[in-house]
């Protein structure tokens, strides 16, 4: 059985010069704090760092903050760093494993370490690997989207077509992931087949129209009188193609260089602005009392050191000036290239003129059209044949996949798991002071949709039943891992003095024993949790006195990530 555990999270705001590190127990954790102390921020940032974006806005949060989650999968530790859209995976020693700017690249990295191999269909019926939002969906109750009747825990889930059922069936092993892989491929083939049929019908209609019009074009005209024009046309077209290709390549390289230069100027100017702030600080404090404003460390700074520091800034300023000159030059080169592209249009005009050339009563364009009409019917026939072949091959693939899907459906196992789910749901309802209901028809992917104070308890009972059937057993490496259960904040809809203790006691004692649990709560409770994390200061989650330590730890990782991302961009040869 694979176990995924959160070990700690580090949050760093360079803008506010504040930071915070929070460590988690591998068992049960209770995050305590009044409103606005940052409980939801901590839980949301766990998932955002890993590439799943929870719904709900965080008021007053520095969205440029750097976050780092240390997690373990079985005994292997990883660190995941996130800064803006950039994410990187490191091993326990801080060696970079992978860095990504695009979400698709990150999805591949995340899925490879978690063995998450569920394939879904997107809205256009294309197959797409499920992402970290899908991975955490059954295990996170988000205060801002999960306590209602719909699956609104994460943003952008709607890009997948009906993802909930396959996700729940994947984690509960009702249907193995191979079934969804085959289904997704089958859906893709079905869509392609429909497109193929549409194309075939359009082609047949066009062919029929052309056949009706062909007799009107008359007898075939000889092209012998137009030999020189044909030769010239071929030459012009070849020239045009070559010029177009050269211009396209040049424009591509120039635009890439321009965006690289612009990006570097922006970053360098930010660094220089930071230097100016630091220099201003030195001006105010002087060399003989150089004490770091953040960590309080005393530095032995010499005049030579200050000179070198100012000189580094001057050197960067001078490089930025040269980069700006290169930017201007590139912009002017791109403009020139655009001008050349316009010049090509005159070549097109020359070709048009050539087509208007007359020999006696015949135009050169008539020759081209006549030759084309004759061969067009042949081309239509060939294409129709290709499309028919393609349809046959698609139909046979669809049939093969349908047969394969049937072999993955095990009715007995499906019934056993459904029964376990229904029993667990019924028990949890009882423990959470909800009236007994007939659960024999309940489906795993149908959330309860009640109103009033019973709703959050019914939702919790539902999730608890899901977690019961999603608990991995056995040592099958292909099984989905055990995922931490995160419940942001169970005190919903005004629970009274009977129901609230029942909820907390349920969370403390009734969740799967092997699972890591993170619960947020407003007030202290007597129930047993392995670790209590207290957040006491409203809007004071991040602390000034942790900045130096966390910053020292994350800066090196950020530098490695940025260097890797930059290298991957620079190494792409245009």
């Amino acid at each position: 059985m694979k176990n995924l555990r959160f070990s700690d999270i580090a949050l760093l705001s360079s803008k506010e010069r504040k930071a915070r590190r929070i460590e988690f127990h591998p068992g049960s954790n209770l995050i305590l704090g009044l409103n606005h102390t940052g409980k939801s921020t901590v839980t949301k940032m766990l998932f955002e760092t890993l590439g799943a974006l929870p719904t709900g806005k965080l008021d007053g949060w520095d969205h440029t903050a750097t976050t780092c989650v240390v997690l373990s999968i079985d005994d292997v530790e990883y660190r995941v760093l996130r800064q803006g859209d950039h994410r990187a995976l490191f091993d326990a020693e801080g060696h970079l494993i992978s860095a990504a700017t695009r979400s698709r690249a990150w999805v591949d990295t995340f899925n490879s370490i978690t063995n998450f191999n569920l394939i879904l269909s997107d809205k256009s019926e294309n197959t797409a690997p499920a992402d970290p939002s899908c991975f955490f969906l059954p295990f996170y109750i988000n205060q801002d989207g999960s306590w209602g009747g719909t699956w609104s825990t994460f943003k952008f889930l709607s890009r997948f077509k009906s993802p909930t059922q396959p996700i729940l069936e994947y984690f509960s092993q009702i249907t193995p992931s191979e079934y969804y892989r085959a289904k997704s491929a089958k859906d893709g083939f079905t869509t392609t087949l429909a497109e193929n049929d549409r194309e075939l019908n359009a082609l047949r209609r066009a062919k029929a129209k052309l056949s009706r019009a062909l007799p009107a074009i008359g007898p075939k005209i000889t092209s012998a009188d137009f030999e020189s024009e044909i030769a010239r046309l071929t030459k012009e077209i070849n020239l045009l193609n070559r010029q177009q290709e050269e211009l396209r390549l040049t424009a591509l390289k120039q635009n890439e260089a321009l965006s690289m230069v612009k990006r570097e100027i922006a970053v360098a100017e930010l660094t220089l602005a930071e230097y100016k702030q630091d220099a201003h600080f030195l001006d105010r404090r002087g060399l003989d009392e150089l004490i770091c404003p953040t960590c309080g460390a005393e530095h032995d700074e010499s005049f030579l050191g200050t000179l070198e520091y100012a000189e580094d800034a001057r050197s960067l300023e001078s490089t930025v000036l040269r980069l700006k000159a290169s930017q201007a030059l590139l912009e002017s080169e791109i403009e020139k290239a655009n001008g050349k592209r316009n010049e090509l249009s005159s070549t097109y005009e020359a070709l048009d003129e050539l087509l208007q050339t007359k020999k006696g009563e015949m135009k050169f364009s008539d020759i081209v059209r006549s030759l084309g009409a004759g061969s067009a019917l042949d081309a239509f026939d060939a294409q129709e044949h290709d499309l028919e072949d393609k349809a046959q091959s698609l139909l046979s693939s669809i049939h093969e996949l349908e047969t394969q899907m049937k072999t993955y459906i095990n009715k007995k196992r499906r019934k056993e798991i459904r029964d376990r789910f229904r029993d667990a749901y019924s028990n949890a309802r009882g423990l959470l002071n909800l009236p007994s209901v007939d659960t024999s028809k309940y489906k795993i992917h149908s959330r309860p949709d009640l109103s009033g104070s019973g709703r959050p308890r019914a939702i919790l009972a539902y999730y608890a039943a899901i977690w019961t059937i999603c608990s991995p057993n056995g040592n099958d490496d292909l099984q989905p891992p055990s995922v931490p259960l995160v419940i942001d904040c169970p005190n919903q809809q005004g629970q009274d003095s009977n129901n609230l203790p029942a909820i907390v006691s349920f969370l403390s004692t009734r969740l799967p024993s092997h699972a890591q649990v993170i619960v947020t709560f407003e007030g202290n409770v007597p129930d047993k949790f392995d670790r209590r994390i207290e957040l006491s200061e409203p809007r004071g989650l991040l602390r000034e006195n942790e900045f130096a330590v966390v910053s020292a730890e994350l800066d090196g990782l950020v530098a490695k990530m940025n260097e890797a991302l930059l290298l991957s961009q620079t190494n792409v040869q245009p």
């Binding site: 100027i265 660094t271 002087g286 960067l316 040269r322 030059l329 190494n571």
Partner: protein, 182 residues
Amino acid sequence: MPLAHLYLERTTVHPDAPEDALIGRANLLLTSRSPAHAAQAKTLVQSLFVSVSAKGRHTGQCQTMEDLRKRRGFGRIDLQKSLSELEKVPDLASLRATWMKRLADEGFNFLEHTRVEVALSELERERLSGIASTTEDFQATLAAWVSQNSPDSSLKSFLMSGAEQLTTQFPSISRIRLYAHY
């Protein structure tokens, strides 16, 4: 001290950038004393401001003139020491500008040239932010190669053969970034 040694001149000083008024003066001084460092006038003035402005902020009373001189004074000898320190800092900005121009003159491809400028800016940025982007091993290998080779005839060939030499030992560093390191 004879008052005849004092020279006062009225000049306009912007409160947010007081050093601007002095950079021209510092340039004149450096041009006559250390022409090789004349371009570093701004650096000198900024660093002097750090030293001098701190002295003006001591508010404790001084009992004697000697005490006053020791705690808040910045005199000719201090300035001479500062100038000597500046002479220890090579004018890398000018050297880099000269090299980049030389590369362009030697017919280095413009787009490649721009990429080297970008890589150079990255390195300078990292240095200014105190980020160590390379290992000591790399720095030592680079220094050893530079000490045995010089860009006398062609800077382009110097950079290309240097990068070729180091790329086998440090394959994770791109060729363009290696050029910038030289």
